[in-house]
Symmetry: C2
Subunit: 407 residues, 2 copies
């Protein structure tokens, strides 16, 4: 008898019919002899609708009250799901984040999970219930409700799976799993049956929208084996777990694309060595998330430093850096470039296989694609390309590593 | 510095503009130097909408899950109200029933308040907050959410006022207070400035829709002075408190009308003395609320017993009694009459004034109105009349006691 956590996002419970579909899946899993915990998001659209209501009242509502308001979305969906299970003759019990023992700390609207006390969950499981927990929320020590920010329901599911020592955590979504590349871009893209946490992290942080990096990090920290699956079919998905030797047999596992990238370059820097700290502090204070960083020194002794970021942050980045330019030297100046995309090639096999970078850039050059900034990790190579070129670039690299062939 | 509880119902917070109106009133009350606790219902329509959603899933949803679902209505309205207060520059904090320390017991969807632990409320008051509590809900010992059934938000307000020892509890509604009679029926009806708990109870249980009897009973039990007021103006309302000598100076304080009444009569009863128990048990098992009971024995030794009830319960009452007729005697039979109304005349002054009943029935007779069943308490006289006659009856009695004149 396995202990299974299943997480369903907002679109999987977006209508009463879809809630019934999820109820049926949970009952099937229980009938197969498993103990079942579900983690559920708000019905799609409900969270935005509640936020819209708050903004009718005021522009910047207090975040404590926003959490109070928005957390009702999941409370409603878990109750409706339990009703659907009851309608089918099953036994289910719904729990808010607080009732499920999900204790949080940190800020409102972006709380962090501190600990989980799964007493009530086990009690309900022992009574034969399917336990349906509200995702995306928890309770602070002072009794206040916290929501967990973007990707919060995935985080709830992974954390619960860790706390109850689940055999597996299944993250249901609207795709069949993680692909070697976005199938809308590369028609030959294949579903990847198995990934390491590190690979999933690199995919997540380089544009693959399947899951947020912080949930993958949490799974890695507690060794939670999880599977990304489709809530509308029974296909096997992508299992994410500790790296094993089989994974290294393939040099490259997948390709991520991130669009809407922009570059900011500060050139003519003559300030002392502290210049990187000055620049990064200015960006951090403006709460701008930067991605790639490239720094070098020109032959005339003047340094230049470039960053990439989402296009939506370009204006704020320019404003933030303008203020510190005088501290960087009399001739320091800003250049910006929008309309970029980032192509990332990921695989733990890179570590033991040389020549991966050469193959990537040879493939891109053969396709006539100009590359810009380059960043690498142990298991990833990223490069910026013109936005218009990114799909052609992905197809070229996908073909160069024969990713259309099964593992 | 007074400690004031203010309760606003669903229609008082039914739109964002009305929520702003309530926010303004709470801030005014705080600015006048009071500490303020608000108890708020769900925005009007929201509860019905949530119940409708549940019924889309199944006909008889589990009541535990219904409570989980429906309690989100108040959680949303308290959060929105706190945002509106923040928008006006005030400080407010919202609390669910559980956070407010409202502990319940009993059944789901009709929980009862067992105790209140107002620690968090006082903490927030001491920090200068307006404390906005969700009405209609509390938390059971096992952590489950309970809703309190009809009139539950009034009950929350009275119970909180008792727990924090508030100086007054103001129940805001869409009328100016309790009237000597429904002003739509008797144009000369006046607002009653002050009532005793007993009078308010008799008015509530005999058709006056302003407040449910169980909230009045709770206020009486803990000596909570409350005032029924209009949320859309600043008129003084009706204060309800312990009886005092001034109240006895008027024989009759008000007239209640209850429409949609029906009568069931069981006649030809020859069974032993247990017959009343047999009949009442059958009705109780069918969960039928009966109101007036009249029993007598005819000269031939056969007993007859009549009851009144809401017309909507007539069918169920007939069905329930049919089953026990054979136990009441071979010639026992049922008669029913729908289309009745009940007129009740209430006042603590009745106790010390004789001849009240005579005045009531003289006035009705002079107006040519036929009366049916009669029931009395120490401070109330009720009679059934034909539904078509009830408004004329109310006007005749109102005039007979000169209720159009101030106290």
């Amino acid at each position: 008898m396995a202990l299974v956590v299943q997480k369903y996002g907002g679109s999987s419970v977006g209508t009463i019919d879809r809630i019934r579909n999820v109820a049926g899946r949970l009952m099937d899993t229980q009938r197969e002899g498993n103990r079942v915990i579900a983690v559920i998001s708000a019905m799609s659209g409900v969270t935005d609708q509640l936020i819209g209501l708050a903004h009718q009242v005021m522009e910047n509502p207090p975040e404590r009250e926003l959490d109070m308001l928005v957390s009702t979305g999941e409370q409603q969906s878990v109750a409706l799901l339990c009703m659907a299970i009851a309608e089918m003759g099953g036994k289910a019990i719904s729990l808010t984040g607080a009732q499920a023992g999900i204790c949080t700390y940190g800020s409102h609207t972006r709380g962090r999970i501190g600990s989980i006390s799964p007493g009530k969950i086990f009690e309900a499981l022992n009574e034969g219930h399917i336990v349906v927990c509200a995702g995306f929320q928890g309770v602070a020590e002072d009794g206040d409700i916290h929501t967990l920010g973007r990707g919060g329901s995935d985080l709830s599911a992974i954390a619960l799976a860790a706390a109850v020592k689940a055999d597996i955590c299944r993250i249901y979504t609207d795709v069949d799993g993680v692909y070697t590349c976005d199938p809308r871009v590369v028609r030959e893209a294949r579903k990847i049956p198995c990934l390491s946490y590190e690979e999933m992290l690199e995919m997540a942080s380089s544009g693959s929208k399947v899951m947020q990096a912080r949930s993958v990090e949490l799974a890695k920290k507690y060794g939670v084996v999880f599977e990304v699956r489709n809530s509308m079919n029974n296909n096997s998905g992508t299992i994410v777990q500790e790296e094993n030797s089989a994974m290294e047999s393939l040099t490259v596992r997948g390709i991520s694309i991130e669009r809407n990238q922009a570059r900011v370059t500060v050139s003519g820097i003559t300030a002392p060595v502290a210049y990187t700290a000055i620049i990064l502090t200015a960006l951090a204070e403006a709460e701008i998330n930067i991605d790639m960083i490239v720094a070098n020194t020109a032959h005339d002794g003047r340094a230049r430093q470039s960053f990439t970021m989402n296009m939506s942050e370009l204006g704020a980045a320019q404003a933030a850096l303008k203020g510190v330019l005088p501290m960087l030297g009399p001739e320091a100046r800003l250049e910006t470039e929008a309309g970029l995309a980032k192509l990332s090639v990921v695989g733990v096999g890179m570590r033991s296989n040389s020549g991966v970078a050469a193959t990537v850039f040879r493939a891109l050059a053969d396709a006539g694609i100009v590359t810009g900034m380059i960043a690498t990790s142990e298991i990833r190579i990223s490069t910026t390309v013109e936005a218009a070129d990114v799909e052609r670039a992905a197809r070229a690299v996908h073909a160069a590593f024969h990713l259309e062939q099964g593992s």
